[in-house]
Each structure stands twice: as structure tokens, then as C-alpha cells.
Symmetry: C2
Subunit: 408 residues, 2 copies
């Protein structure tokens, strides 16, 4: 039984939130001086807990149980988006710290310990999931050389701040039995359902398209409707087909979004000659994504064939779904039931480090509720009671996973 200390957990979370504090939120972007400072603080806390702890050259903070040859890896990330929330990935990292600390305090070891990690730049200031990809030896030097932020800052420049640290820590499949990551939900579903514990069935795949329509700019007063080549109208028709048909052909979990739309030249009295929209859809099943994409591309082709406007779709993002390991999810559910908590199974609509780890070792994610579904914003929050309850459930689940692993 790993007995966590709720007050110590909350205290560590609040201490971490002081690095980059911004009102009720935190601004601590990857590899910034504040991010590095927070990671050094974390390394200190991990060492106090009895782990062999350090920072590596890409900024990953890692604490290794020195008493065991096998371990459950628990963690998430402590970098944030600009003006982000105080919990987000920090929650999962401090859960890991607290659970490892409580576990070490039990003294007992069955030969399977707990390692803790905070991955660098999950948020993609420079390169999304840089830390977990580096940990899994899944990123090339060329990618790192090429990566830069939206404002043009180079990753290689930012990494000068950690250049004196040791070579990257790596995943060791012989050691790392499983990966567990807790995170805030970043959505409204747990709160709406009145549940405290979410068990992630899988991380959605994402397909994103840049859709372009090319017509002709004409005077919107002097050109009759039937003589126009209206690029905007072509994309509005496409948007209408998506809204009508996606609910019928997608799964219950499918989500989609038209996040941007631009009409050019953009004048009130000029028929748009060019229109551009960014459209994405997400689902946990590749088969569903394939059906949606096939329909989308058919409609795009029909738009071009039916009228005087040319419409093209260009895939800009293609992230495959990542399944989570059901047995670990079951361990979380059993642990939750022990605390009288009903769980909710749901996909993760957002990306996480577990998306990378899940390709290499058995992995699972647990969510706690986000108040109002808020995320990536200084208004993000989770009640103290939910934070503590989540950590107790995760600790209990980790105990079960260790027991199962030790028995093998």
C-alpha cells in the first residue's frame, strides 16, 4: 500500500507553480531559464526522495530508483504553453514524485521500483514531445537542428542552456515495465458526468488538411450570381456537407474542427478569388479516420467537378491513433473502485507523451477533471479534493502494476 501525503502533494504542486507564476496560471515555456530552474528544483526533490536524479542534455528531468533493476516509469511534462495552466502536465509529474517518495518510504522492494520523469517540450514550443521522443530514441539530430519556435528562435540555441548536462537518458525496455501518465482532462466530460477519474482508452489520431479554393475576383455588384467563380461559396458548401454528414459517418467519439478560414482579397464588394480553410478531424480508430478522409476528398473532387472553382486538399498533419494498454487501465479502474470512485472511459483528444511511450512499452493514462473544461489558459484548474483523490487512485494502481510485474 503506497500511502500518499495529500498536503505534501499540494504543497509541491504550488511550489512548482511559482516558477513562472502568471496570475492564476503559469508561463514556463520549454527550455526557458524558468523551465530549467523548475526542473533543477524537481531534480532536488527527486534526490531527497532517494532517487538517482538529474537533468539530461535535452532537458528531461529523470529520477531513477537505485534499488531495483526493473521499474514502472511515471511522469509527464513540466513545460507549459505561454500563459498556461498551473496543473496540465505538472500534475502528472508531481503525482509521480509523490508516489515514488511514498513508495520509497515503505522501504519494501519486490525488485520492481518506480522511476519518475518530466519530459521536455511536450507542448511543442520547438518540437512537440521532444523529451519523450528523445527518451525513446525517436528523434534525429537533423530534426533538432531544423526545429524553431513560431517566433523564429532555434531549438539548438535554446539547448545551449543544457549543453553541459549528460547525454540523453534513454528508455530501457529491460528496465521500464510500463509507463503511467496522469494529466488533467483538458475537456469538460468528467465534470459533466460527475466523475473524478478518467481512464484513457487511446489517444486519437489526427488528420489535418489545408483546403484551398481558387476562383476569380469579380465586382460583387456588377457580376450576376450565375456568372461568378466564388471561391468562398465553394468552401461554405464544403463546410455545410461536413456539418451534415460527419455526424452520420464518424464514431460517437469523432471530433472535427474548421479552425481558420480566409477569403481573399477580403473586400466587401469583391467576389472572393481565393479561399482557404484548415480542417482537422480526430478519432481513436484508423478505420474511422479512413472513412472520413475518403468522404472529404470525394467532396473536394466534386466541388472542382461541379463548378468553375478549383478546390484542392493538402494533408498537413497525419498522426496515427495510439492505443493504451487495457490491463493497466483495468488496474486504474480497480484502484478507483477501492476508493468508491466510478470511472469514465474516454479517448484523449489531445496529444501527450504517452502517445510516444505507448509505441514502445505498455502505457496508460489517467485523467482528473478540468473545471469548466478549461485548459492551456491561466483559468485552468482542478479542485484540491480531485487532485488528491486522483493521486491516491494512481498510487494504488501503480502498486497493483508493480505487484503484477513482480509476479512475472
Amino acid at each position: 500500500m503506497i500511502e500518499i501525503d495529500g498536503a505534501r502533494l499540494l504543497n509541491d504542486l504550488r511550489t512548482l507553480a511559482n516558477f513562472g507564476k502568471a496570475g492564476t496560471g503559469v508561463d514556463r515555456i520549454a527550455l526557458s531559464p524558468l523551465d530549467i530552474e523548475a526542473r533543477r528544483w524537481l531534480v532536488g526533490r527527486l534526490a531527497e526522495a532517494g532517487l538517482e536524479a538529474g537533468l539530461d542534455r535535452v532537458g528531461n528531468a529523470y529520477g531513477r530508483d537505485p534499488t531495483t533493476s526493473r521499474a514502472i516509469l511515471i511522469g509527464s511534462h513540466t513545460d507549459t504553453v505561454p500563459m498556461g495552466g498551473w496543473l496540465d502536465g505538472a500534475l502528472g509529474v508531481i503525482y509521480a514524485l509523490e508516489i515514488a517518495r511514498a513508495f520509497r518510504a515503505t522501504g519494501g522492494s519486490s525488485g520492481v521500483g518506480i522511476d519518475v520523469i518530466s519530459f521536455e517540450d511536450e507542448e511543442g514550443t520547438y518540437l512537440p514531445c521532444l523529451g519523450s521522443r528523445s527518451f525513446c530514441n525517436d528523434v534525429t539530430d537533423a530534426e533538432i537542428s531544423a526545429a524553431q519556435s513560431k517566433t523564429g528562435d532555434r531549438l539548438s540555441e535554446a539547448l545551449m542552456r543544457t549543453k553541459d548536462e549528460p547525454a540523453p537518458f534513454r528508455l530501457d525496455p529491460a528496465r521500464h515495465v510500463a509507463y503511467l501518465e496522469a494529466h488533467i482532462e483538458q475537456g469538460p466530460r468528467l465534470e459533466a458526468a460527475g466523475r473524478r477519474i478518467g481512464i484513457v482508452t487511446g489517444l486519437v489520431g489526427i488528420r489535418r488538411f489545408r483546403i484551398l479554393a481558387h476562383g476569380q475576383a469579380d465586382h460583387a455588384g456588377t457580376t450576376p450570381m450565375d456568372m461568378r467563380k466564388d471561391a468562398g461559396a465553394a468552401l461554405f458548401r464544403l463546410a455545410s456537407r461536413i456539418a451534415t454528414t460527419f455526424p452520420k459517418i464518424g464514431s460517437a467519439e469523432t471530433v472535427w474542427n474548421i479552425g481558420s478560414m480566409t477569403l481573399r482579397p477580403g473586400a466587401a464588394n469583391v467576389v472572393p478569388s481565393e479561399a482557404e480553410m484548415v480542417f482537422e478531424f480526430r478519432d481513436t480508430q484508423t478505420a474511422t479516420l479512413d472513412v472520413l478522409e475518403r468522404h472529404l476528398l470525394e467532396w473536394v473532387a466534386e466541388s472542382s467537378n461541379a463548378g468553375p472553382v478549383t478546390v484542392t486538399a493538402q494533408a498537413t498533419t497525419r498522426i496515427p491513433p495510439t492505443a493504451m494498454t487495457p490491463a493497466i487501465g483495468d488496474a486504474i479502474a480497480t484502484a478507483a473502485a477501492d476508493y468508491g470512485e466510478q470511472t469514465m472511459s474516454l479517448p484523449s483528444g489531445a496529444g501527450h507523451d504517452a502517445m510516444v511511450l505507448g509505441r514502445f512499452i505498455p502505457s496508460a493514462m489517467m485523467f482528473v477533471p478540468s473545471i469548466g473544461g478549461r485548459s492551456h489558459d491561466i483559468t485552468e484548474n482542478t479542485s484540491d479534493a480531485d487532485i488528491v483523490a486522483g493521486c491516491r487512485v494512481l498510487a494504488s494502481a501503480v502498486g497493483r502494476v508493480i505487484a503484477t510485474a513482480a509476479a512475472r
Copy 2:
């Protein structure tokens, strides 16, 4: 019979096009040094034709028949949009010069002469129809003081270039029997129908709305479809209703346009919290405009009532339709028939100085074809044969209007 000289007409048009020549087009924005220079050249040509000619303080170039107490006023404007066409309003002004010159050469006067005018800033670099509104005493000093260009240049500053000219020329209803304006069509209808002469039934009224939707920014991966407040989707539904229903409730001449659309924050993975579009519709009948507006505002109200997104519409432009005088249109049709030309009656979907003059004196407009419907672009053109044919028809029509006026 006013016998125009086609070669002289084309020569004057080409000479005028040299002021601000830009490739195949002209860049001669209102009150620029080139625009003033072109107007001084025009004043010289009008004086050579025997008119009392001058420039006034707002830039209007006016030539007055000194031999008559009544006159038909003919003209248009010689300012252009940036990188505009070589004809546009210049066509109507040089038609007026040529017709007045040919008329003066006949020597004969029935007591009704021909006055010629080029109005300043019809294109609205500073203030749309500044010249015709000044001529009709329909603009206030406060409007002139406040007016500035899109780039922040003040009209009052630009008017320093004409500050030493005489006080504004004014419409004199006792003198000015009627106003006739020729212009390129700026649309594709005459060309598509194979007609050379368009008779304008009226200038459309314009109603323009800024439509705003206010929802909530949510993560497009983690927020289920039924829990979103998607401002973009609300405007796409409105666009779809417009596309479906406007063709049924408008007239055969109604045109409409969604010229701009913006989604905010505009990220692929964020549900739009704000969406904004600019929507306008045009028709020659106030009753039709009223029906369209009533439906639009109903849909906007329903959008807000039906869902979690608030939609509002704000009228930004409201220009009433202007009827043209049928008797003068008939004179153009008769003149055209004499030359074997079949005419086409059509509304003007764009604004013109005749929109201002038509509120004060009997007015008419005649169109000649625009190749490919091109306008406000350096590719704008009309064949030489169409240019000359149009001037012959207008000259003949002017002769008829003079005869009718003289008989009263």
C-alpha cells in the same frame, strides 16, 4: 446630327491614359499630382472646344457652353482606383468632350447646349462621389474635414493642391436639363449577350452588414461536438441559409456577397470563439432589399436563440436605390436602333456619380461592354469599335434629348 470623330475620340482617350500610365492600365488616384495634371489637360481640351472651362476647389473639371442658358450635362470622372483600368469613368468624360466639341462645331444652337464635367474622387480614395456630391451641394465641410484615405492621408491635406482654384461649381436646376453618364459596364453581361449598348434601369441600393458570432474557445480534440460553442459553425450555417434561400426570395437582379470571413483565434486545434463576416446584398428595388433584410435578421436572431453562440448583425452601409429617367433611356434605345444596335436593359450594380445627380435632375446612364467583365484592374478593356459605337449612340441620344428640351 452631332457627328463625332472616332479617331479624335480614341486619341484623346489614349492621351488621357498617359497620365499615370501603369502597364495596360492607369494609376491616377483622386487629387494626386497626376490626377490634377490630367484635369488641367482636360480643361485645356474643353477650352479648345469652345467651352468656358476650369477646375474648382474640390477638383471638379467643368466646361460650360457659353452660348446657352440651358444645357445637357454629360460626364463622369477621371480619377481611378490604384492600378485601375484606362477607361472606367474616363470613357464617359472623353465621350462628353467629343460630343460637346462636335456639337459646338455644328454651330447651331436651339438654346440648349452641352456642359461637360469630370467629377473628383468618384472612387472614394477619400470620400466616394466627393465631386458629384459637392456639385449637388450635398456634402458638408465636416465630412470633408473628417475624410481620410485607408492609409490615413487626410482629404483636407490633399485639397491643398486645389486651394487656389475658384469656389465649387454647382448644379443649377434652371440650367441643367438632364445628366447623361456613359461608363464601362464593369461586368460580363453585355459581352455574354453580344450587345454593345447597355441602358441602365437604375443604380442598385446596397445594404452591408458586419455579422459577429461570439462563442467559446475550446480544445478541438478534447471537447465533444455537442459541448462546443463554435462561433465559426454558427456563421457557416448562416451562410448556408443565405445560399439556399436568397435565390428564392430575391429578384432576378439581386446579387449578394460574403466578401470576408475571419475566425478567431484561428488555430487548427482551437474551436473558434469569435467569427466575423461581411455580407452585402444589392437590388434596384427597396421592397426587395427590405424582404432580404427581414429574412437575414430573422436568421441571425434564430442563430442566437437556437444555440449557445450569440450572433449579431450590424448595418454598416445603407445606400438606397436610384432610379434612372425612363424617357432618357428611351432616347438612348432609339439612337441605338438607328445604328442597328440592339440594347440591353440592366441595373448598375456599382455606384456612379449618376447615383448622386439622379436625386436632383433627370438622369440616365449608358454602358459599353467590358472585355471579360474585367474592371478596377489594369486588364480592363473595351474594343475600339465598341468605344466608337458607344460614343455615336450617346451623341445621337444627346441630340434627341436637346431637341426634346428645346421644344419645351
